[in-house]
């Protein structure tokens, strides 16, 4: 190894170490700043539904619930749409349409979240309210659709998140599909497969990369703050209803941090940040595990490794 090689290795190694240091110090700082809340509430912080700054009683359950519920519903909406876009652009789209479509999906990712929030308030929320009021009463009896028709609430938040997540999932899935070796498709055609069957084979080949793309979207949805807080109704109650106003972890931090003057209140807010940090880590690890088990169970090689997701996006 030459001297240049060595310097290069040490240099890049330092950057790698820096990354680990940054993540570790974020974790350390979150624990340090939330110490008084951790000591006072312990593990009950995770399962308490009360958030009362006046009485100094804090629990994260409604926020954990709201964050996971909104992100999962958003994934259920966005994944089929994003996959459809990716398949169309990568496999079926006429050449002249491809670039404009790629540009438009990526443009969705470039829109600031506050703009999504405004669109949510003025367009999406009235539309959802219309849907709620026109829904037959039989359906409204179901716990998932119960509650007064406010417009703001879980469903509005999930839809807005879905729109924000689509460009991430679809762009990564598209790249994954493009990197499937042509031999795979050619082999399928050679066996007499139709176009649909050939695409299905390509999708199967690329499945680990696609799972990675979906998890990237999940991470994005978990940390989204501004657009969600503008349409979710900001009510810290656990509810199964898609129409009920709820709350998320990122939103409560953004909303209450500036005015939190007493120490315990502040510590509780930082602990919410810690909980979000832990949940994001857990989701990330789970997705790694899932991809690992998928690659192990077959000989197929992951086309694209999942990218670590950005969390707690700056509002």
């Amino acid at each position: 190894m030459t001297r240049k090689d060595l310097t290069f290795r040490i240099g890049t190694g330092l950057f790698g170490a820096l990354l680990i240091l940054i993540v570790a110090s974020i974790g350390y700082e979150l624990v340090r700043q939330s110490m008084s809340s951790i000591q006072k509430f312990g593990l009950s912080f995770w399962r308490t539904e009360i958030w009362d700054p006046v009485a100094g009683q804090f629990g994260a359950l409604p926020f954990i619930w709201g964050t996971l519920y909104s992100s999962i519903v958003a994934l259920l909406i966005s994944t089929p749409i994003a996959l459809g876009i990716a398949v169309f652009i990568a496999e079926l789209c006429p050449g002249w349409l491809r670039q404009p479509l790629v540009f438009l999906t990526e443009l969705l990712a470039a829109i600031p979240s506050i703009v999504y929030g405004l669109w949510g308030i003025f367009v999406l929320v009235p539309a959802i309210r219309g849907l709620e009021t026109s829904m037959p009463t039989v359906l409204r009896q179901l716990p998932i659709f119960s509650g007064p028709p406010l417009g703001v609430g879980m469903l509005s938040a999930a839809v807005i998140l879905a729109v924000m997540v689509i460009p991430f999932t679809s762009s990564v899935s598209r790249e994954v599909l493009k990197s499937v070796p042509p031999a795979q498709r050619e082999a399928a055609y050679a066996l007499g497969a139709t176009r649909f069957e050939a695409i299905r084979a390509a999708l199967f080949y690329a499945r680990t990369g696609i799972v990675g793309a979906v998890m990237l979207g999940f991470g994005r949805a978990l940390g989204e703050t501004m657009a969600v807080t503008m349409v979710i109704g900001n009510n810290p109650r656990v509810s199964l209803s898609l129409f009920a106003p709820q709350y998320t972890m990122a939103a409560v931090i953004a909303n209450e941090f500036t005015e939190a003057a007493d120490e315990l209140y502040l510590a509780a807010l930082v602990e919410i940040g810690l909980v979000l940090f832990i949940i994001t880590l857990a989701v990330n690890s789970l997705s790694r595990l899932l991809i690992w088990s998928m690659t192990r169970s077959s000989t197929a090689v992951a086309a694209v490794e999942p990218t670590p997701e950005p969390t707690a996006e700056a509002a």
Binding site: I50, W51, D52, P53, V54, A55, I121, F122, V125, P126, R129, P148, L150, G151, V152, G153, T229, M230, G233, N234, N235, P236, P245, Y247, A251, A254, N255, E256, F257, T258, E259, A260, A261, D262, L266
Partner: protein, 342 residues
């Protein structure tokens, strides 16, 4: 291209010159409440024009952050919409003084389809609505206050602030004073555990939700309602009058309070007694150490405060704030002498 380069060089030179001059000036940094930010910015700007050597910077980061920063002495002055608690005052390394600067008010805004008449409210009814005990617009308690208005049987959607806010502080302070149950179940803070309703972010979030949701009731700052021409109801004061919030009615509330003003100015003027008084009014405060470390800054700040409390008050009306009554200004002028400038 060449001329552009030359312009750039000239501009850079100018910038250097300006910063060199500014370096000799006295710089004062402050942080705190967002509610008085428009008038504070106006004041610092106008005062800076007349006194070139004083530059005051203000970050409107919220009352809570303002209190934390003055406690930590990272800023020279703080600003808050709710007075500091005894606990918070003890947490500071030195004695902190409160100075009321201007007045604000909070008004109930509503959206009821087919009702254009101005509604009348009182504290107990508003408290019961925000407690979730009154849920319909045609509830007898509301109908009793508004005998001439035909109210629909629609559900009331309560809209409150989701972010911590001085506006919420003033609102729940009034509700807690007029309803013992509200005080017990919800209490007073910049954010509280609301038993019902949806949260909107900021005044614009609340008014946006109210405008769009038929049957809703929320609260916003008077300035916001005035500037955006949102209709709002009148509220019954201690004397039984129904008063619609105006700048004059808010100043009247402070005028009444001045007679019983505590020495540290930490006083709530919600539900104040007196004629023509709007009951959901409040001071906003600027926070100073009694004995600041930097005496040059202290001297400049006291001079500025004297100007703001007298000449500066004339800017209130344009921006929708209520000016301080004269007797409060007189008390504050005396209190400013306590701040050590040498």
């Amino acid at each position: 291209m060449k001329t552009m380069n030359r312009t750039l060089v000239t501009l850079a030179g100018l910038a250097l010159l300006v910063s060199a001059v500014a370096a000799q000036a006295i710089q004062i940094n402050g942080a705190g409440a967002t509610f008085p930010n428009p008038i504070y910015s106006k004041w610092f700007d106008e005062y800076g024009k007349a006194h070139g050597n004083v530059r005051i910077n203000y970050q409107s980061v919220g009352s809570g952050a303002g209190i934390r920063q003055i406690q930590a002495q990272t800023v020279f002055f703080g600003a808050t919409d709710g007075p500091m608690t005894n606990e918070q005052l003890q947490g500071a390394p030195g004695k902190i003084l409160h100075f009321p600067t201007v007045l604000g008010a909070v008004v109930p805004v509503y959206n009821i389809p087919n009702v254009t008449a101005e509604l009348k409210f009182n504290g107990p009814v508003l408290a019961d609505i925000f407690l979730g005990k009154i849920t319909k617009w045609n509830d007898p308690a509301i109908a009793k206050l508004n005998p001439d208005v035909k109210l629909p049987g629609d559900d009331i959607t309560v809209v409150h602030r989701s972010d911590g806010s001085g506006t919420t502080y003033i609102w729940v302070d009034f509700l807690s004073k007029t309803s013992p149950e509200f005080l017990k179940k919800v209490g007073i803070n910049t954010s509280v555990n609301w038993p019902t309703g949806v949260g909107g972010k900021g005044n614009e979030g609340v008014s946006g939700l109210v405008r769009q949701t038929p049957g809703s009731l929320g609260y916003v700052e008077l300035i916001y309602a005035l500037q955006n021409k949102i209709s709002y109801g009148s509220v019954q004061n201690m004397g039984g009058e129904f008063v619609k919030a105006t700048v004059a009615a808010v100043t009247a509330a402070a005028n009444e309070a001045a007679t019983k003003m505590p020495a540290d100015f930490r006083v709530s003027i919600t539900n104040a007694p007196g004629k023509g008084v709007y009951p959901i009014s409040s001071f906003t405060w600027l926070l100073l150490y009694e004995n600041p470390k930097d005496k040059a800054q202290s001297k400049a700040m006291v001079d500025f405060m004297k100007w703001a409390l007298t000449d500066g008050q004339k800017y209130c009306a344009d921006l929708g704030y209520a000016p301080l009554p004269e007797n409060v200004v007189k008390l504050e002028m005396a209190a400013l002498e306590k701040v050590k400038v040498s």
